[in-house]
């Protein structure tokens, strides 16, 4: 029984990470109807910047945290300026390939600086609480907390702020929004900046648990996408729940079915969902 609970807890924490990265996919897709294949690498860049920051000093975690987010936003801004703004209206294949290219560039630039995996200092504390034989690391609690807080913030942003509503308007009908005086290019920038910042948060949170390495983006990105599809790529809370479901299912499958094919669970679920209900468990039909 305790092993079961342990498994679920582990699943929830990795699921939170999947959810955060998946949010990046969701935000971009909702607004622009394209899939940003570089999302996983954005997550990785966030993790890298976090490592850089925390290696300089572990005494000011909060400013460094926000510093990384700002840096992530700036990088997203530059990437959008150079590349994304020119092709976000192109057909999905064109954007997909271009974003794959962006991802490759990010990966290899980071690799130049850090070909090795790097350990994060334990910025979220290294205490492990134990209830019987169930061990809960304080990092898991931070992941859960920050993820949920982000969801609330994002929902508030999209539904209660003027700019957020403007972004939603653009996604509904771009030309109409433009006619109404909404600055569409601005929303394009905002889309990529926000999605990158969210991904970067995921990268920082995962650092202390799983290290940073320049190639960590790929698998996580794929699984995050599965999570987004699972929960509903058009729905912010849905995506996050999709992440939790994926994380827990993966872990349960890994322990009780087979750890060899654990990864296949994510992909199998993905294919199944795409066939049966592509709008996801919590998605609304478009």
């Amino acid at each position: 029984m305790e092993s079961l609970i342990q498994t679920i807890i582990g699943g929830l924490s990795i699921g939170g990470i999947y959810g955060l990265v998946a949010l990046g996919f969701t935000i971009v897709y909702r607004s622009l109807y394209v899939i940003n294949f570089a999302q996983g690498d954005v997550f990785m860049v966030g993790s890298f910047l976090g490592w850089v920051g925390f290696s300089l000093t572990s005494r000011y975690p909060v400013p460094i945290f926000f510093g990384v987010l700002v840096a992530g936003g700036v990088i997203a801004f530059i990437t959008t300026f150079l590349i994304y703004k020119k092709i976000h209206r192109a057909d999905h294949l064109t954007f997909a390939i271009a974003s794959i290219g962006v991802g490759i560039v990010m990966q290899n630039i980071v690799r130049m600086f850090s070909p090795d995996a790097k350990r994060y200092p334990d910025v979220f504390g290294d205490k492990v609480l134990s209830i019987g034989h169930v061990y809960i690391s304080t990092q898991y609690i931070w992941i859960l907390g920050i993820t949920l807080a982000l969801i609330v913030l994002l929902q508030l942003f999209f539904y209660k702020t003027k700019f957020g509503k403007a972004m939603r308007a653009v996604s509904e009908n771009r030309d109409m929004a433009s006619l109404l005086g909404i600055n569409v290019p601005q929303t394009v920038y905002a889309t990529f900046v926000i999605s990158s910042v969210v991904g970067a948060v995921g990268g920082i949170l995962i650092g202390p648990i799983y290290f940073f390495s320049f190639d960590m983006g790929f698998m996580t990105g794929l699984k995050a996408f599965s999570a987004a599809i699972l929960g509903g790529i058009m729905s912010v809370p849905g995506t996050l729940i999709g992440g939790f479901i994926l994380g827990v299912t993966e872990n349960l499958g890994g322990v009780y079915v087979s750890s060899d094919y654990k990864d296949a669970i994510a992909f199998g679920l993905l294919i199944f969902m795409l066939m049966v209900k592509p709008t996801g468990l919590f998605g609304k039909k478009k």
Partner: protein, 384 residues
């Protein structure tokens, strides 16, 4: 008509003079090397290249070999078998090197050594520890300078049994290296202790989350863990084990005998016992060499790791020059024959190293243990 013929003859003469000229001049000896300089193996591969460079610099500083300087031609194969086959093809047929010293990664070496065999190129591989590189192949040109997994797992299993452990868990990477470690370690447990592992779990390189496997291992109540995989995952496993309240002693092999294991694992990896190829504390000479190596390459963005560099250094500085002297020339067949006979002593070892009939190296195994953030020397075990 006559003019054309004359021109043609002149051209031929000039060409052949040119060719002859090429061979008369003291052109450098070309040592080819290939390893992962990018990709997950880059930490090992880069150090392997540095070790080779240091050895060649040492030799060149001493006047070179046979009156010629030595030049290194290196190609990155990202430890990908397909790329490695292309890389070795290029070294052999395009760059036309005299010998190849290098190669990192079991799957990679298993793929690329065929190229050397087919082409008749002496190849001292320093980074593929899978026994299948030499076992049963009747190699004519490939020499394994790295003690293979079979020998190392046997040694480490014997040691673990001597230390009194009885219930072994095995956690291994699903690649060649991990599977080989699992098989040979199990064989060793059976042969020397008539024991079977109580639980065997596996993972994929690139995995970050080992909770599932570790929970299953915890449920089986082992008293020691045989861990066979590569760097990053091994450290993560050690950390996650501690987070699950598991305090198992860890036994492993040279695949993780790299400073990054300690750097990444921190306190969680203290006490790990490893079969390795080298340890700086073995003798004053090894300490001096390690210092010199770290000093030479401290500017690199990759962390200088003497253990990873030693294999290629030793092959290039100890084995290779002796073989060349014995052969008296760079003729490949003569070099190969010399390699079959040459013996050399590495710093701090009690017996000579040499290649056995299957071209696998015979040497002592250096057992190390992680203590206070460093690899402490535990003991040496002679081949058995």
């Amino acid at each position: 008509m006559i003019r054309k013929k004359g021109l043609l003859i002149a051209l031929v003469v000039i060409l052949s003079l040119g060719m002859a000229g090429v061979t008369i001049a003291a052109d450098p000896i070309k040592v080819g090397t290939l390893m992962a300089l990018t990709g997950p193996g880059a930490a090992f591969g880069t150090n392997m290249l540095f070790g080779l460079q240091m050895a060649i610099d040492d030799i060149n500083a001493g006047g070179g070999l046979l009156g010629r300087k030595i030049e290194i031609i290196s190609i990155d194969d990202a430890a990908q078998p397909a790329q490695s086959v292309s890389a070795i093809t290029r070294l052999i047929h395009q760059d036309k090197v005299d010998i190849i010293i290098g190669g990192w990664g079991s799957a990679t070496v298993l793929a690329n050594f065929k190229g050397a065999e087919k082409a008749g190129m002496p190849y001292i591989e320093c980074g593929g520890s899978n026994p299948r590189v030499t076992r049963g192949n009747n190699n004519q040109w490939t020499f394994a300078a790295l003690q293979n997994d079979e020998k190392q797992s046997k040694v480490i299993s014997k040691l673990a049994l001597e230390m009194g452990y009885k219930r072994f868990a095995i956690l291994h990477d699903r690649n060649d290296f991990g599977v080989g470690g699992r098989d040979e370690f199990s064989k060793g447990l059976d042969e020397y202790g008539k024991l079977k592992p109580v639980v065997i779990e596996s993972y994929q390189m690139g995995d970050k989350d080992f909770n599932a496997q570790l929970i299953k291992i915890r449920d089986a109540k082992p008293d020691a863990l045989g861990l066979f995989g590569t760097l990053v995952e091994a450290s993560a496993i050690a950390i996650q084990m501690k987070k699950l309240g598991m305090n198992l002693p860890i036994f492993s092999m040279a695949g993780i005998a790299n400073v990054n294991y300690i750097r990444l694992g921190g306190e969680a990896v203290e006490g790990t016992i490893l079969a390795s190829h080298f340890n700086r504390h073995l003798s004053p000479e090894t300490e001096a060499w390690a210092k010199r190596y770290e000093e030479k390459f401290k500017q690199s963005s990759v962390i200088a790791d003497p253990t990873s560099a030693w294999m290629s250094y030793s092959a290039a500085a100890n084995c290779f020059p002796r073989a060349v002297k014995m052969a008296g020339s760079m003729d490949k067949t003569k070099i190969r024959d010399a390699l079959r006979q040459v013996k050399w002593r590495e710093y701090g070892q009690d017996i000579d190293n040499y290649f056995d009939k299957e071209h696998a190296i015979v040497k002592e195994t250096i057992i190390v243990q992680v203590k206070n953030g460093d690899f402490a020397f535990l003991k040496k075990m002679k081949p058995f």
